[in-house]
Symmetry: C2
Amino acid sequence: MPKLGMEPIRKDALVKATIVEIGRVGSLDVTVSQIAKRAGMSSALAHHYFGSKEDMFLAAMRHVMTIYGAEVRGALEAAEGPEGRIRAILRANFSPGNFRREAVGAWLNFWVLAQTVPEAKRLLAIYQGRLRTNLIVALRPLAGARAVDIAESLGALIDGLYLREVLKSGAPDGKAAVAIALRHLKAELARGA
Amino acid sequence: MPKLGMEPIRKDALVKATIVEIGRVGSLDVTVSQIAKRAGMSSALAHHYFGSKEDMFLAAMRHVMTIYGAEVRGALEAAEGPEGRIRAILRANFSPGNFRREAVGAWLNFWVLAQTVPEAKRLLAIYQGRLRTNLIVALRPLAGARAVDIAESLGALIDGLYLREVLKSGAPDGKAAVAIALRHLKAELARGA
DNA sequence: AAGTTTATTGACTCGTCAATCAACAAAAAA
DNA sequence: TTTTTTGTTGATTGACGAGTCAATAAACTT
């Protein structure tokens, strides 16, 4: 039975299962057995490939952020002009995928994890740095020197809007969030002109 | 030894200890024994006064939000004029107290808790409703009909700024957050005029 | 004084879970 | 073909934790 080259396949399955389970349970209170079962293997095998549960969490976090990064990059490539780039970033951040159970569970719980696990904090800093850079680049032609400041507030607004959409009862509305963020942007730009 | 009327004293001690422990550990992974020990009693007594750990969490959450509410109310009473009221709300939200370990742990973890425990979600909705109302009332004289929309974005910005200050490395800077929020407000108001 | 209510805890139950290990199977290398 | 490497799991260990309970004691009631 043992085909070779299983390692990447198993790891990948475990990472995905970890994210799903965190979303399902709504917290990091998931057992290795649950994860392994969902990934179709024994818990011993999960421990074989990842040394510990924490390693699994970190791998899952990296995966989520890789997906996110790819989403933003893809949206940016298809965008035209500075404002188009901003819109693309906003749409990527508030895409339906980011409101799926798994994604929500991942982000909320990674914020918590970042409080105690330095590596988690580092990963989160990378995500914020990327968002910041993307915003600044897109804003430069529109706002010149004020790009940095506006990126700061726009970035925070994105996080805040996401949090509110996620916590509120009822279906989240990415479109509305995008609209509010754009209004904020317009106001800031008008102020500078 | 058993003085009477211990119940409120014990409950209060447990609530405070719960918040401290959550902040110390950085997650909801605190044991009833830890909490009870910090509160100076046996875990059995903790179970006697609160039926379950979840009840303790919810009581702690109510307590945090009561503190928060009192802080905002106090700041509002001492405020002069519409803009003064806004400033007061912002200062209360970004006061040093809210960046203490316990407060940070409480908020982050209550967001997670709200995902699965309906009562936690309800409490959070109350907090958001109050912030929203306070903002709208203060904004009305400044922005008229647009008060509601601006309150929406300003509220989200507050949450986002708080999250970023909390997650970033280094000492949080409430002043900077207040400044950014005020800039956002000015921009929105200028737009309307 | 006898009985009831409140306060309090140590010991215990029952369950869970992360991590380890021994053992087995198959492919690859020697 | 022996040996080594890779894949895999059931069983086990060792620890911890939520919630219960019986027992003890002080106060309050009648």
